[in-house]
């Protein structure tokens, strides 16, 4: 609208221009000095600046120059004002106050020149109007900030920083708080940057550097004093408290971007530079179980990279050492006493778990460290081991393994069988103990050993009807399932219960069908070979004729009912009660069928002396079974009087010769409190053959052959998927596939690979003999 003004501009209007600017300058200074100006004056300022910008061609430049000089003068003036201020605190307060007003105006004053810029940009014909408008506005703002920095701050910066740092340290030392002022100064430095500054926090960074330097100097002195004066336990609490305090301070006095680096350098000083003392102290605390201090030192060490690895290492070796030494001190007892063994381990486990909870807040890294160490102790072979062969036929190498899984299975049996141990416990206590065993089982590497022995114990419990609590038995199967024991194993256990149930029904049906008087004398358990067969060859034995007859009858009955099945009698599993008439009375003997067969050899010739050979013919037992059975009758350690007498006497079943002569002890009797009893009952089944004996060779061979089978299956499964694998990779995958059963020994894997190559399931790569290829 007022374009005419530009055309009529001439020298005579210079005075007018000058006067107009004077008015602008007056109002500007009033603004800067925080003097009140009216709304009218502010509006006039806009009109005036616009008018001046139209005055003539070069008026824009003149306005800029004039503006610069106003700002320059103002800033220099304030510099002097501040310089005259001798009080530290007032100096800082004044700086903040002046700056805050100025900074606010940095947003307002440039607005005055907005229109001026529009005019000048329009002339240059720029299309990007709004952008350039803002840029020009920015230029005035930048001028203001630059002038401040160059004219005022650069002169005062050192004093400013020194003073503010003094406040920060004073806060720590004398608890004199000037938090708001410190924050204001920090903000003043943060805000001071131009749009064109590359590093926007350039000024603030001087603050950050000074902060770091002062804090570190402070703590260098303080922490070594603290270390000298305090106990370690107090010192770590001191450091912990200080670090938290400094974290708070950083949050208040620093920008977020610099918190990490500053905190790290404080941590580095307070922790890392004293790492070796702290670590040593931490190791001591682990050894002493000092959880109250551990939790604190753990938090400290966890702040510094790499420290925790040292602690983990120390914890692991502590668990190993203290675990092994605890076990070794009682090795004699716990080798054979599964109850003591489990108690000991649970004791250790609880001790370490407490340490981890109290000292390390159940940190996942520490839990897994404990698990690793525990695995090592449980699977350790120094205290006791069993030998599992790597080959079945010939002289396969024997690979010693921890006996732990066998003991755990024995422990479960102790709790599930009717025993003295079991009788004294409530079902809640039994459940807790079973869960203890399962907890330890998790750490067992070769779970197949456990499964084998557990199954044999269960067979014994079911066959002899000595299960203490049916419900607990079934719960146990669920718990075993929950800890991911192989499904196939669990299925077999469940089937065993099912079979016992069915066999009961069959037995009753047979008794009903039998026209003869219903008798409870003889019972048959007919079970599935699928669940019950143990792979070992069945042993023959001649039965007393009445039993042989019964067997024929029930076989006939069974085959009518189940036409697609065949039966095999397993007298190794069967047992009975016989009455023994002696010179003193009649006694009931609980015997195995093998023992029964041996004793019945005398029924028609009670006073005869019979040789080993004749007994072999009479019983039909193989020599080794016969010897073991005879030994249980001539040398039963639990009995005062033996049933059988042998001449000459022996110490082991191997010592019987063909000259050995056996006869019945007709003087056998039972003595109770010094008196001979006419009636009584003794059991000779204590070592029923199917019960696993210490280091039972038979069981271990079975375990070995099952391992070979499982290894083969797993190799095929993996190769089918991968098609082509190097031995190392195959081994790694095998370990993973078989992890719930056993650890595959290299020797076993190599053997099974050879077998599969022979059978054309797999071939070797011709170029690389270590690579195997699956043949579909």
């Amino acid at each position: 609208m007022p374009t005419g003004l530009l055309l009529s501009a001439d020298d005579s209007s210079n005075d007018d221009f000058e006067r107009s600017w004077q008015q602008i300058e007056h109002t500007l200074l009033a603004l800067l000095n925080q003097q009140p100006i009216s709304k009218r004056e502010w509006q006039d300022l806009f009109a005036l600046t616009f008018r001046l910008s139209m005055w003539y061609e070069s008026s824009n430049q003149i306005i800029v120059d004039n503006f610069n000089s106003v700002i320059n003068r103002f800033v220099l003036d304030k510099k002097e004002v501040l310089a005259a201020q001798s009080d530290k605190l007032v100096f800082l307060q004044e700086y903040v106050q002046i700056w805050e007003t100025y900074y606010r105006l940095c947003d307002y004053i440039p607005q005055l020149f907005k229109r001026l810029e529009v005019a000048s940009t329009n002339k240059s014909g720029s299309a990007a109007l709004s952008v350039s408008k803002r840029n020009k506005c920015q230029a005035f703002r930048d001028t203001m900030l630059e002038k401040w920095k160059d004219g005022l701050l650069n002169y005062h910066i050192q004093r400013l920083l020194d003073n503010v740092m003094e406040l920060i340290i004073e806060e720590k030392r004398n608890h004199i708080y000037n938090g708001q002022l410190i924050t204001n100064i920090k903000d003043a430095l943060v805000h001071l940057h131009c749009s064109k500054d590359k590093d926007k926090l350039d000024t603030y960074q001087q603050f950050e550097r000074a902060y770091m330097k002062n804090i570190l100097e402070y703590y260098k002195l303080q922490s070594s004093m603290a270390l000298d004066e305090m106990s370690m336990s107090d010192y770590i609490r001191y450091v912990d408290a200080k670090l938290r305090e400094e974290e708070d301070n950083c949050r208040r006095y620093l920008e977020f971007s610099s918190m990490k680096v500053v905190l790290e350098s404080i941590e580095n000083h307070l922790i890392n530079s004293r790492k070796s003392i702290l670590l040593q102290e931490c190791f001591k605390m682990i050894k002493n179980g000092n959880t109250a201090d551990l939790i604190i030192i753990f938090k400290l060490l966890d702040r510094v990279n790499g420290c925790i690895d040292n602690v983990l290492e120390a914890l692991s070796s502590h668990i190993l050492e203290s675990g092994m030494s605890t076990l070794l001190t009682d090795a004699e007892v716990i080798i054979w006493d599964s109850e003591k063994y489990v108690d000991k381990f649970i004791g250790l486990y609880e001790k370490f778990s407490e340490l981890l909870k109290g000292g390390f807040n159940d940190d996942a890294r520490f839990l897994s460290c404990r698990d690793q160490a525990f695995k090592k102790i449980i699977n350790d072979r120094t205290i006791f081991s069993i030998n599992i062969p790597t080959k079945i036929k010939g002289m396969g190498k024997l690979e010693p393994e921890s006996r732990c899984p066998e003991l755990l299975a024995g422990y479960c049996d102790l709790l599930l069988r009717k025993t003295n141990v079991n009788k004294k416990l409530t079902s809640g206590e039994i459940e807790r103990r079973l869960k203890d065993a399962l907890l330890l089982l998790k750490y067992v590497q070769n779970k197949d050993v456990f499964m084998r022995y557990y199954k044999v114990h269960l067979m014994k419990r079911l066959l002899l009807d000595i299960t203490a609590d049916q419900e607990m038995e079934e719960n146990m199967i669920e718990w075993l399932r929950n800890i991911e024991m192989p499904v196939e194993f669990i299925n077999k256990l469940a089937k065993m219960f099912h079979d016992i149930h069915i066999s009961h029904d069959v037995n009753n049906l047979f008794k009903e069908a039998r026209s003869k008087e219903a008798s409870d004398t003889i019972n048959a358990k007919i079970l599935s070979a699928a669940a019950w067969s143990r792979g070992s060859e069945n042993t023959n034995v001649s039965l007393p004729s009445e039993l042989a007859e019964y067997i024929k009858e029930i076989e006939g009955f069974y085959h009518q009912k189940y036409t697609t099945r065949k039966l095999q009698w397993h007298h190794l599993y069967s047992s009975g009660t016989i009455t023994f008439a002696t010179n003193y009375g009649k006694y009931d003997l609980e015997v195995t069928t093998f023992q029964m067969s041996v004793l019945f050899a005398w029924n028609l010739r009670p006073s005869d002396e019979i040789s080993l050979d004749s007994l072999r013919i009479a019983t039909g037992l193989n020599e080794s079974e016969l010897r073991k059975t005879l030994f249980s009758l001539t040398n039963n350690s639990k009995m005062k009087y033996q049933i059988l007498l042998v001449n000459p006497s022996v110490q082991s079943f191997r010592e019987y010769t063909h000259q050995s002569i056996f006869r019945i002890n007709r003087d056998f009797n039972i003595v109770k409190s010094g008196k001979i009893q006419k009636r009584g009952k003794v059991t000779l089944i204590g070592r029923l053959q199917l019960a696993p004996e210490k280091g039972n060779e038979e069981e271990n061979k079975e375990i070995a052959s099952l391992r070979m089978l499982r290894t083969q299956e797993a190799i095929i499964k993996i190769m089918k998927m991968r098609k082509r694998l190097r031995f190392g990779q195959l081994q790694t995958e095998l370990v993973n596939v078989l992890k719930n059963m056993f650890f595959p020994q290299k020797a076993v894997v190599k053997d099974q690979l050879e077998k599969l190559i022979e059978e054309n399931y797999i071939k070797r790569d011709e170029q690389d003999l270590n690579t195997f290829i699956y043949l579909a």
Binding site: L463, R481, V487, E488, I490, N491, A494, H498, K516, E517, D520, T521, I522, N523, A524, K525, I526, L527, S528, A529, A530, W532, S533, P544, S545, E546, L547, E549, Y550, I551, I554, Y558, Y562, T563, T564, R565, K566, L567, Q568, W569, H570, H571, Y573, S574, S575, G576, T577, I578, T579, F580, A581, K586, D588, T593, M596, L599, F600, W602, N603, I664
Partner: protein
């Protein structure tokens, strides 16, 4: 021979007193399928055990065996999936006709 076998415990035996008399006996027998070959030619596992598929499943139902007219026998699960491809016995190539089913 001794028909008095079921005589109850301590009662004196009828004729002369026996040295040993049976009071109780618990016999144990294991049943398996009446088959000529122990393994299933299809899955290579023992017929007495469940087939591969059933072994890895949680189930209570039995994995039974079937006999063909040719007297060859397989897991029922195994021959069932085999019959999807061919109706001949995998061992003798004769037509597969079920003779009996295990129970």
């Amino acid at each position: 021979m001794e028909k008095s076998s079921t005589s109850k415990s301590s009662k004196p035996a009828p004729k002369e007193e026996s040295l040993f008399t049976i009071k109780k006996w618990n016999a144990v027998a294991l049943w398996s399928w009446d088959v000529t070959c122990d393994t299933c030619a299809i899955c290579k596992l023992l017929l007495v055990d469940a087939c591969m598929k059933c072994q890895n499943e949680i189930k209570t139902e039995d994995c039974v065996v079937v006999w063909g007219e040719c007297n060859h026998s397989f897991h029922r699960c195994c021959i069932a999936s085999w019959l999807n491809k061919s109706n001949r016995c995998p061992l003798c190539q004769r037509e597969w006709i079920v003779q009996r089913i295990g129970r």
